[in-house]
Amino acid sequence: MATEAEQIAQRVPGEKSSFPALALLVGWLVPGAGHFMVGKWVRGLLLFVSILGMYLIGLGLQGKIYSPADIQGILDILNFVGQLGLGLLYAVARVFNLGASTVVTTVGDYGSKFLVVGGLLNLISAVDAHSLANGRKKGA
């Protein structure tokens, strides 16, 4: 009878290679790219469109792009970390000064939430790509 540790090891055949970690990293940097790496093209495309949609709507509603300099409390930290989940999209917004520096309207607040949730969704999808790459999740 296999122990629990042995059963987990059996479910994770590719754990020792760097491929799962690469899928996680690439999936975080570019939405859906981790799924492209493991050959899940349709899922990757749907994730890319969904997260890019959240990002573009957030910017369109003049959502705030958080930076370390804006942090004044725990909520700012959470918002900043959430938006970091957008990966390269966050970097693009910072470099090209997209979005708003402060929230001045109600819809601007909605836009910030779209950006934060988009980042969190991207983190979930990157972890999913990691699970597919190491065999922990069996994808049909």
């Binding site: 749907l46 969904s50 997260i51 959240m54 709507i57 819809v107 909605y110 979930i124 999740k137 049909a140």
Partner: protein
């Protein structure tokens, strides 16, 4: 300009797609779970909106 209800629909749609793909393994179950999440998101928003309206009036 995006108004409130279309914003709710788009937020629910995109979020449900990601939840469906990441939280289920089989394509059929992904679609079912995504549709379930979408219905819950939109339904809860409508119910809470009417509750707030009732409290206000």
């Amino acid at each position: 300009m995006l108004t409130h209800f279309p914003a709710v629909l788009l937020f629910s749609l995109f979020t449900s797609v990601v939840f469906g793909i990441t939280q289920r393994a089989e394509p059929k179950m992904m679609v079912r779970f995504g549709a379930f999440c979408f219905a819950i998101f939109v339904g809860a928003t409508v119910v809470v909106s009417w509750l707030m309206y009732a409290i206000k009036h």
